[in-house]
């Protein structure tokens, strides 16, 4: 066997091993959250999700009341044939037959347990977290006349529809505008083209936070504050610089010959754009769409400012913030909430990934 072959095999082993480790590091937290989302609240706060795996645990086989036995915890004691002080028993003393004698609790009210190590799993699963996230929480009020009334909280439906209503146009509009702009910057010659493009790229470094107050003022003047139109425009504006830049990079690398032959055949700019450029740049469009969709779907601040925190227009991110309670006492619901809010972005990603991959392959084998 040649050493080159062996080295090659070793190399692939190394690469595969590294990939496996990266995948594990990447997925284990997600898996942990997924498992936690099915656990009951008290379990989540007291033990880790890995306790669903089989593990060895000390379990009591016998309980001894030290006071009934007349034991004095201030002195050396003999319990079940084992000698030790209170401190030693608190940590657990192992008896010769493999059992453990442990003092549970303090000197006053503590009990002594004879424990045995057994294999166990804690499979106490519930759908309650998902029920509360999707169907809404319920709140109890004790009225002055002593009756207890349960007031239902909001469910997820409205937040989900609102988020869709915000996200889809906020993704589609900037793509449409940016594709036109990128084409113009790449293939049309007009005075000041270079400077205008530099201006657009420069916009990339402007943080959107500084635009919040002036935008809000303008929206108030236009009386569109707190409407969907306002947030569509805001997201379009904030996303446009990156979209134009990304699409320009792609569109400007399209083969010049193809476009020129179309022009020679008498095609107008519009024909070239719709019949040639757009179909050829599907991978770039799709990758930007994924970016923009995820960004808008996960956005909290922009929606808060321009939709005004109105419960009527509540988005999924705001719903998640509300569900944990004012001081975060219901944080265990975030596990289920994370998976519910993750469903759609995942679907978008896998849906568009098809174009993404196909687009990258297209052209790679042509001369």
């Amino acid at each position: 066997m040649s050493s080159a072959k062996r080295r090659k095999r070793l190399g692939s082993l190394f690469v595969n091993g590294a990939l496996l480790i990266i995948i594990l590091i990447w997925t284990i937290p997600t898996l942990g959250i997924f498992i936690s989302s099915f656990r009951v609240r008290n379990d989540i706060t007291t033990s880790g999700w890995w306790s669903i795996l089989p593990h060895r645990e000390w379990q009591a086989t016998e309980t001894i009341d030290p006071r009934a036995e007349g034991l004095d915890p201030t002195e050396v004691m003999v319990i079940a044939g084992v000698t030790g002080t209170f401190e030693e028993f608190r940590n657990g003393v192992t008896s010769p037959d493999g059992k453990r004698i442990t003092w549970i609790g303090n000197r006053r009210i503590g009990m002594v347990e004879v424990q045995e190590q057994v294999w166990t799993v804690s499979w106490n699963f519930t759908l309650d977290n998902y029920r509360q996230v999707l169907g809404g929480q319920s709140f109890e009020f004790t009225r002055p006349d002593g009756t207890v009334e349960v007031v239902p909280g909001d469910n997820m439906t409205r937040a989900f529809l609102n988020s869709l209503a915000v996200t889809i146009p906020s993704t589609v509009i900037p793509i449409l505008i940016a594709a036109f702009a990128a084409y113009a910057f790449a293939w049309m010659s007009f005075p000041g083209r270079k400077w205008m493009f530099i201006l657009v790229v420069a916009m990339l470094v402007v943080p959107l936070q500084i635009a919040l107050v002036p935008l809000l003022r303008d929206y108030r003047a236009l009386q569109i504050n707190g409407t969907f139109l306002a947030i569509w425009l805001a997201h379009t504006g904030f996303g446009l610089a990156l979209a134009t830049y990304l699409l320009f990079n792609y569109i400007s690398t399209l083969p010049r010959e193809t476009l020129e032959s179309a022009f020679i055949d008498g095609a107008s700019h519009f024909t070239v754009f719709t019949r040639l450029v757009l179909p050829l740049s599907v991978p770039a469009l799709a990758s930007f769409a994924i970016f923009q969709f995820l960004w808008v779907w996960n956005d909290y601040l922009v929606a808060l400012i321009f939709l005004g925190g109105n419960p009527e227009f509540e988005l999924v991110t705001q719903r998640m913030a509300a569900i944990v309670g004012s001081r975060g006492s219901e944080w265990h619901l975030l596990t289920a909430g994370a998976f519910v809010s993750m469903v759609l972005p995942l679907a978008v990603f896998f849906g568009l990934q098809r174009y993404f991959v196909r687009g990258m392959m297209a052209g790679s084998v042509k001369g």
Binding site: T45, T46, N106, G153, R158, T274, P311, G325
Partner: protein
Amino acid sequence: MKIQHIMRVLSVLLILTLIIVACGGQQEATPVPATAPPAAATTAPQTGQETAEEQAEEMPEVPFDYPAGGYLERAIKGEFAGTTVTVDGAFEGNDVDGVKFSESVKAFEEATGITVNYIGNKEFEGSIAIRVGAGDAPDIVDFPQPGLFANFVRSGDVIPVTTFISDEWLSQQYNDGWREFNTVDGQEMGVMHRFSGKSLVWYPKAAWDAAGYEIPETWEELMALTEEIAADGDTAWCIGIESGAATGWVATDWTEEMMLRTTSLENYDAWVAGELPFDSPEVKNAIETWSELWFNDDYVLGGRSSIVSTFFGDAPGPMFADPPQCWLHKQANFITSFFPQGTEYGVDYDFFYLPPVDAAYGRPFLVAGDLMAMFNDRPEVRALMEYFTTPQSVSGWMEGGGAIAAHKTATREMYGSDLDWGVSELVNQATSFRFDGSDLMPGEVGAGSFWEQISSYVAGSIDLDTAMKAIDASWPR
């Protein structure tokens, strides 16, 4: 081919969105006709030129008191029916507190036909500044920090309540101490709404009774009890100060408690106002008093090193283990929402007043709470502000638990549980009470350097002198 496909998908999506938006619009529109009929019904008897007595006879029955001749009275007659008042605050519109708020204003909405639209969110401190700065101020703001409220008062954005609510009515509804919290530079600018009591120590009642521990009346007794529990083999206290970006606020609370208990109220007020520096013997003595307890590994579950990394909400959890792993936990009354499900007040847990250190300073009580401030002057906004001076405007919290009405006219029947009533009784028995100092200090300190430096001090990475000097240096002058 491909592009046609994409275009088709896009257009379908767009149409879908438009449908959703259209539906959303309808949903939004429905509440208006829903509130209109009672409005129309109540408008009918209003004729205008009548004597006060005749008006009083015609007034519809409402479940709350209102000042005579005020805007609330006119609102009950239906004068402002159909209008909307927007309220902003630091909790989400439909989380636990959001639901409690809407329960609280239900009586007002039913009696007046005015719609109360709550739009709060958790980024309140930032978003309210943006909104007011852009001229888009909400009508009424629910401030959890009087310090932040004072900033808006000084910038001239808040409309003083004394312009339309009489001093007589306010003194009838509030004890004097409470009115000081919403007074800025000598003028009463807002109204106190609700509060939570902080000087409370929680203990696992069932195990406590079984072990035969006694409730301590003085700081020495408390320390003796701590020592006794340690001698029995347990750690007495559960302490955790982790709270994300706000890590350290639990330690600032303890500092305030000790400031009230080891020095005079004048010194406390001077400290909060920035006149008494952190690097003074009084403040350092207060911090050292609790440090004695916190930094003894026999007294705190997990020892000093675990305090900074324990989430404040998870901290009391071990108290409910069987048998308890710790026996004492100091926290405001809202902590009960973090207690394990199924635990019951009076059975599984109970509370006592954090005892005084020095008898010379009486029995002070530390509170934190929310006040209401008016940003837009319209009659219906005035009516709602008047409603907030009644205990019924806190009914959601009184019946659902979690906060206590700041009004002295609140009664036992209004509360859904003995717990909240018990806390309000403790506050009434206190010889003095003060507002959470860190909420009154400038934001850079009260919600910044105080949290950070005290956390570093607890973690042991810097000493007390360094921490105090750093906080003093950050105070905006």
